[in-house]
Symmetry: C2
Subunit: 444 residues, 2 copies
């Protein structure tokens, strides 16, 4: 499919290109535009009907949007902005440099400009910033027939007509009616009799992560956004929530790997920006590892008298780190999904303690077989190593399980208590255990 | 709210409980049922109207479902199963022990039983296993008016009426029509003239991860599922996709922390099962760390002549591991989201090389200031440590960036090339670099 269209483009067969594009989904057309030369981009964009052009525009990356807007006339800009859903228009404007924003806003009519400016004012990641103001509103005195007529008249430009919102004369939200209910009800029924008044709504300032939780909890497809006086100001649709869930997951995963979170695509992010997101945590962790070095220095005499002990340090540190990250990862994820809360702290402690005993015994035994029987390490050294291994796993799993909960109770993000920090903490403790064991068993 | 209802329950005021519950969302009712004593569970469940009872039943955990089914009559079971959406009924049956499944199936009529059995046969995580068969189908000869009448007649039991599917006499999928299009079109228009025939569909055997990708790419709310002859057999709705996205993310995160993935809730998983999911990778990584120990043994002479070198081993290993996991995490996530593919291997290499040079220089310089000026470590040892640090970061980031892509090209899951494995690999190389540097600079 895309092969054929690129052939037509290189042969410049405009009518054929148009016919081919009109058969395609707007997301696929956007993909085609990403592949073509920038000189052809404007040509292809111009042959699309205006509603499709606006749809495609919402799906191309910001740099292509900018290039397009810089290449077309003021009149064409006006047409696109008018056709775009308001939330897509706002997303686009947020990404553009000031000069383009100015030109775009100059070319929109005043009421639209006011709406755009209002949406631009909401803080990033708030309900206000992700909502759209294009929804269908009904009054409860309407009949089903009147409501359907109202939807027919006003519904063409609305982002969704699947849910209508019932408001009073002060725009205060009174309930919702699904199109399903309207279609399946008698024509003369009053909206008042079929509206659902136990509405789950959010405030404009609520955070998108909590909104995504509500969507998941109640299996919603849309959600109304209200201001402090419970007046309806917008709606959020589930297709935006799907993106937000991925975005929140990406942020958590990045934090868990000791990076500052960013929702920019890797390949589109510059080298210095990538470096900036990584350096702070690397520095913090590098300096923390100094403690571990200090512990080794303090026990230098132990290492000098039994040199073979040094060879097991990496294995002990790595296994402790891995055992701890497994636990912290499960707890962090469980908390992110709302499955584990702070009051479960004792359940987590008790579970991790038992899991770590099972896992620790298996690891210590297998390690003993390997170093004592296969490598011929002395019995006392083998016991020292394996007992340390067991205690390290125990400590790592309990610490790994509890620290994310502790972080949450201190109002910190649990995701920072992941692999890197847990590893650093466990490293220090495991070395202390190791050397103290050595003193006891080897008498050094 | 929940406080009040629990008070009413403890006072056993049945009529008040019922009134209170009828005001609540089914998800919240399900939460109430999770909190009450098992003896009260059945009582409360029985006072709910049957459609609400079925809705609530779909939201309570499997153990409560089982307890309920064991406590109610055959006739009540039949009512619930009839009222449940088919995909919820199948989810429920999949979780039950054989004796209950037998009793449930015995109490459903034959056509429903056949449908349930068919759905149970699809492999886990396939389109067939997550789809529902309750959709609205239309013929293209119908008028809009006839179509809306058909929806009114058959739509009550359907999972969604927002999208209708147009099929021919052999049930082959010919197109889709949204309820929006129906409502906004003239009553006498033929379905044929408004149907959208460029339908994005999946096969029954397609994997849920790819299906979620399509939903996200095309911002879909429903998707038809067809068999090998393109006959419509079911639909998938976006609310199920939201859960699947979380499930796939959880799996990736668990794999990245060196665990066998599991979609069971942490607090509901037994100790031995948790241990089983963790032990294999811990063993593999523990045994791999043996190589690192071997390297230290090989260079024992170096460590014995310059004892202070040992103290920097943890810092070098940890920083290398952290630097490598940052890179591998970004690449694994980028591949999971479809932003990075195998053909980007050189872009990734070039980007990671430059990022690692920036990050490596900063870390090495700060470390030099700290150990040479603050701790008074000798110049040559300081240079050895800092040069090793720089090279380790370089290597860690390049290896961390490339191994996930290599894994993918070998048809392995990139997520296994995460923090734990990268750390083990980088540890070994960083120690070799360290000791070779020491030989060069310190002449040992």
């Amino acid at each position: 499919m895309e092969k054929k269209i690129t052939d037509l483009i290189s042969e410049n067969k405009i009518q054929d290109i148009r016919n081919e594009l009109l058969e395609m989904n707007i997301v696929d057309i956007a993909n085609v535009l990403e592949e073509v030369e920038k000189t052809q981009l404007v040509m292809i964009f111009r042959i699309l009907p205006k509603d499709i052009a606006a749809g495609v525009f919402a799906y191309i990356p910001a740099e292509l949007q900018q290039h397009l807007v810089e290449s077309i006339t003021d009149k064409e800009i006006k047409i696109i902005i008018d056709e775009l859903f308001l939330d897509d228009a706002v997303d686009f404007i947020e990404e553009m440099p000031a000069s383009i924003v100015k030109r775009v806003l100059k070319n929109t009519n005043e009421s639209l400009r006011t709406q755009i400016n209002q949406l631009l004012n909401y803080p990033e990641h708030s309900a206000g910033s992700i909502m759209t103001v294009e929804y269908v509103d009904l009054k409860k005195e309407m009949t089903v027939n009147e409501a359907i007529k109202h939807i027919k008249k006003s519904g063409v430009d609305k982002e969704t007509i699947y849910t209508s919102y019932v408001i009073d004369s002060n725009r205060r939200l009174e309930g919702v009616v699904s199109i399903r209910k309207l279609i399946l009800s008698d024509e003369t029924t009053k909206i008042n009799d079929i509206l659902h008044d136990d509405v789950i709504s959010v405030k404009t300032t609520d955070d998108q992560e909590n909104i995504a939780h509500l969507f998941k909890k109640y299996d919603l497809s849309t959600m109304p956004v209200v201001d402090n006086e419970n007046r309806l100001v917008g709606i959020i649709t589930v297709d935006d929530i799907v993106d937000i869930i991925d975005q929140e997951n990406t942020e958590d995963i990045q934090k868990m790997a000791a990076m500052e979170p960013s929702d920019e695509e890797y390949l589109k992010t510059g080298v210095f920006k990538l470096a900036k997101h990584r350096i702070m945590w690397l520095l913090i962790l590098m300096l923390s590892a100094t403690f571990t070095g200090g512990i080794i220095k303090r026990f230098e005499d132990v290492l000098q008298s039994v040199v073979v002990l040094t060879a097991f340090i990496p294995m002990l540190m790595d296994t402790g780190g891995n055992a701890g990250s497994q636990s912290s990862t499960l707890i962090i994820r469980g908390m992110a999904l709302g499955e584990i809360s702070m009051r479960d702290v004792f359940k987590v402690f008790w579970k991790e303690l038992r899991v770590s005993i099972v896992v620790g015994i298996i690891l210590a035994l297998i390690n003993f077989l390997r170093i004592y029987y296969l490598e011929g390490v002395g019995a006392l050294v083998s016991i020292t190593v394996c007992l340390t291994l067991f205690l390290t796993v125990l400590l790592a799993k309990v610490v790994g399980g509890l620290l994310p909960i502790l972080a949450k109770s201190l109002k910190l993000d649990p995701a920072i208590m992941a692999s890197p920090l847990i590893t650093t903490i466990v490293d220090a403790f495991s070395l202390i255990i190791y050397f103290e064991m050595a003193r006891v068993f080897l008498g050094v």
